[in-house]
């Protein structure tokens, strides 16, 4: 078993709770002093135990988006050395900042996950996450550098080039998205390339997938498969560690989790640039505090479905509101539509009307193609548009 940070990952519960209380009290003092919005909402509220957390105000994704770009930062921009963007509610932009210490901490937390997945300094790691996950890619890079693995700092865009890299550089670990892993396994199969001829030992997927997909990737690439679970606004990777027993342990020395009405709530205990108090993640989840055979003591989280009509297709996250916004610039403006999503197909079903074809002299092909191109250009989504009869 590989535990990167034994002190914190296996900290006995009473000690962990003492540390969390200390960090929470210090966090409140800093928030009150450094962030105007929190100073107003916290007033004189203090906590004397972790149970008092329930008395503190929530931070919603809307608050974070309202504060765009830097309104919730606890430090002046001069101290912030890294900025990432995240997609907020209804596609509104959010900015996540990091100080030097935030990045140091991120590297340690990412390294916890890599170590738990069995990676060592002897591994050659290829990080291939595509455009949609540049922030996550930088997190994996930090972690991989900390465990002193050799990282191939290139993200091949094309499957052919990817295959050539796997054959030439002989990476033992591939960190990638589930979509890409499945595509790649399929590509090997079509070309009748034996996955055993590659040197892959393990594949780390950038998000949690169901057992079928895990199995598909494991057999298709002949490697052990592990998943991560993170949240862009909090930390991804680095929020959790998936252990040898296949459980997601929250890094509780850094993040204090709660469940309110089925929703996962996270308080960042040590983040400097953008500390978040009781952040509503808009994700359904289960939380258990019980012993795990791996020895880690962090709470076990079971991520569930999104609670905010956020969708994901081929690793691109989007909201219904963003589709509506794009449609508003096309002949389909004002039409009712529905997002239909399967693993392999994204369909936007738009209710048909006469206006839709008002200025077209030819077939119905034109507005359809126009909308599809618009969705691709603005959101990067390869969607199929269908016109359907209006519902009564």
């Amino acid at each position: 078993m590989n535990i990167f940070d034994r002190r914190y990952e296996t900290m006995p519960r009473p000690e962990l709770e003492q540390l969390q209380l200390e960090r929470l009290q210090a966090l409140l003092a800093r928030l009150r002093r450094n962030v105007r919005r929190y100073r107003e909402s916290l007033a004189d509220l203090r906590v004397e135990s972790l149970d008092d957390l329930a008395r503190l105000p929530f931070t919603t994704p809307e608050t974070l988006a309202d504060a765009f770009p830097y309104g919730l930062f606890a430090f002046p921009l001069r101290e912030i050395i890294r900025l990432h963007s995240a997609v907020g509610p209804e596609g509104r932009p959010m900015v996540i900042g990091h100080t030097r210490n935030d990045l140091t901490q991120w590297s340690r937390l990412a390294a916890r996950q890599l170590a738990a997945a069995g990676m060592t300094a002897n591994d050659v790691i290829q990080i291939s996450l595509g455009r949609a996950a540049t922030a996550a890619a930088s997190g994996y890079l930090l972690g991989a550098e900390l465990i002193e693995a050799s990282v191939i700092a290139e993200d091949p865009l094309h499957l052919d080039y990817q295959l050539a890299m796997l054959q030439n550089y002989r990476p033992t670990v591939l960190i990638t998205t589930p979509t890409h892993a499945v595509d790649f396994a399929r590509c090997l199969e079509q070309r009748r390339i034996d996955p055993q001829s590659l040197h892959l030992r393990s594949v780390l997927l950038s998000r949690n997938v169901n057992p079928q997909i895990r199995e598909q990737v494991a057999s298709g690439l002949f490697a052990s498969v592990r998943c991560t679970f993170g949240l862009g606004e909090i930390l991804d990777p680095g929020l959790c560690v998936e252990c040898e027993a296949g459980q997601f342990h929250i890094n509780e020395d850094q993040f204090l989790p709660e469940i309110c009405d089925g929703e996962l709530i996270i308080t960042t205990l040590a983040r400097e640039a953008l500390p978040l108090l009781r952040y509503r993640t808009r994700l359904a989840a289960g939380l258990r505090r019980e012993k795990c055979s791996c020895g880690r003591t962090g709470a076990l989280v079971e991520p569930g479905h999104r609670l905010d009509r956020q969708f994901r297709f081929r690793e691109i996250t989007f909201y219904e509101a963003q589709i509506a916004h794009v449609l508003a610039q096309t002949p389909a403006a004002g039409h009712r539509f529905e997002v239909q999503l399967t693993e392999t197909q994204l369909t936007i079903a738009i209710e048909i009307s006469q206006d839709l074809f008002a200025n077209t002299l030819t077939s119905a092909e034109n507005p359809r193609r126009q909308i599809e191109l618009e969705l691709l250009a603005r959101l990067g989504l390869e969607a199929e548009v269908r016109f359907v009869e209006p519902k009564r």
Binding site: E15, E22, Q25, P76, E272
Partner: protein
Amino acid sequence: MLLQVRNLRCGYGSLEVVHGVSLHVAAGEIVGLLGANGAGKSSLLKAIVGLLPAWAGSICLEGRQTRGQPAWRCISNSLVLVPEGKMIFADMTVRENLLMGGYHNPDRNLQLELVLQRYPPLAERLHQLGGTLSGGEQQMLALARALMARPKILLLDEPSMGLAPRLVDEMFAEILKMKDLGVTVLLVEQNAMATLRIADRAYVMETGEITLEGQAADLLHNPEVKRAYLGAAGREGWEG
């Protein structure tokens, strides 16, 4: 956890100076407690050892509640405070000073030999009056006297205060050596840089509350710590 403090409040008269502080020290650690003058650091230490009554909160030493116990009992609990300004007995000899540190220890003569082996300059001045020692030697005597009680945890209050720069370095090297003796240290200091260099973890205290906790090496890079204690450029808040 050797020492665990939760929500400790204390003060003088009706003035509260420590507003609900929580901290812990694990066995074998050197933990720094930084803060400006008047932040409440010394009051916190005094409350931990019982020299100042704690108004609220809990203080646990190896899991046992010690809040409310008289200060003298702390020594038998292996918790020893080296107060600010050395506080050695000026009119007693070095030997008498040391023996006072181990007055409850039946093996104090044996302990005296061990301590003198560790601090040879004191052995040479065994019969000199404490008050006639130099500043550095007095600080060394204060440390040695604390070790006479065979502490598990030493609380040091501003040990570098009033020492010449060269002696300051020696003092911190001496504190670092406590680790080899298996002595855990909670170190209150205004010399942030030197403290963060030798400590494992540290807390930052401001106006009676803890505002930061972290690994000492990380705190060296914290923008607020740099601004307030390490002499970086002036303060600027971001108000969005």
